[in-house]
Amino acid sequence: MKTTINGVEKEIDGTTSVLRLLEVEDVESPDMVAVQLNGAILDRSQYADTTLKDGDVVEFLYFMGGGA
């Protein structure tokens, strides 16, 4: 099925969870990543249980922070 991941159209299989997608996209620490699914930010607790659907638009990026 067809999805758009960070602005790029990609074919993925129909059983892919958000967590699995992050693994495929080489994200080592999914807890450190914010995910937006069709315009809404997902809670981290939903990554494993949210299965992507045809036409879904996913954006993900790393939380950014630091100190002094």
């Binding site: 620490s29 930010i41 954006e59 790393y62 950014m64 100190g67």
Partner: protein, 150 residues
């Protein structure tokens, strides 16, 4: 992934102005551009509003990501200020540096320097040279929020 950054002088000046305006808190934002050449600055909200920490707002981050994509550019670096400490990666900076693909730019109000770094997956800090060129960048920042900016 660029191993150096070219930043227009007026963008550096803008980071400093923002750092001064938001002191004593840390100021933060993104540098946008392509192929290691910065074309503009995106001012972001430090949701920690702290002199010793900064965190970006994920909603603003997504807005910035989509904005640069529409421009055909990339988020080349995230910057923040150190109001009272030198321009180096602090232990907290290193601990929270989760993206090995990001360049971290730090501007220090203590020593006046602006330096770039990358942090790999082993938490090794690598210097990213910054070349400052006479201003051809956007002198005004893009705003992704930040109503608290002075």
């Amino acid at each position: 992934m660029s191993d150096r950054l070219v930043i227009p002088q007026d963008v550096i000046a803008g980071i400093r102005e923002q750092a001064v305006a938001e002191a004593p808190n840390e100021a933060c934002g993104y540098l946008r551009g392509a192929d290691g050449v910065v074309t503009g600055r995106i001012r972001m909200t430090n949701v920690d509003a702290s002199p010793e920490h900064f965190s970006l707002d994920p909603q603003e981050q997504f807005a910035a990501l989509k904005d640069v994509r529409q421009r055909g550019e990339h988020l080349l670096a995230v910057y923040h200020s150190h109001p009272e400490t030198p321009a180096r990666m602090s232990d907290e900076d290193i601990r929270l540096a989760n993206d090995p693909g990001t360049i971290y730019v730090i501007h220090s109000l203590a020593d006046g320097r602006t330096r770039g770094f990358r942090v790999d997956r082993t938490k090794t800090v690598l210097d990213v040279p910054i070349e400052i060129v006479s201003g051809t960048g956007s002198s005004e920042p893009d705003d992704m929020g930040g109503s608290s900016h002075g």
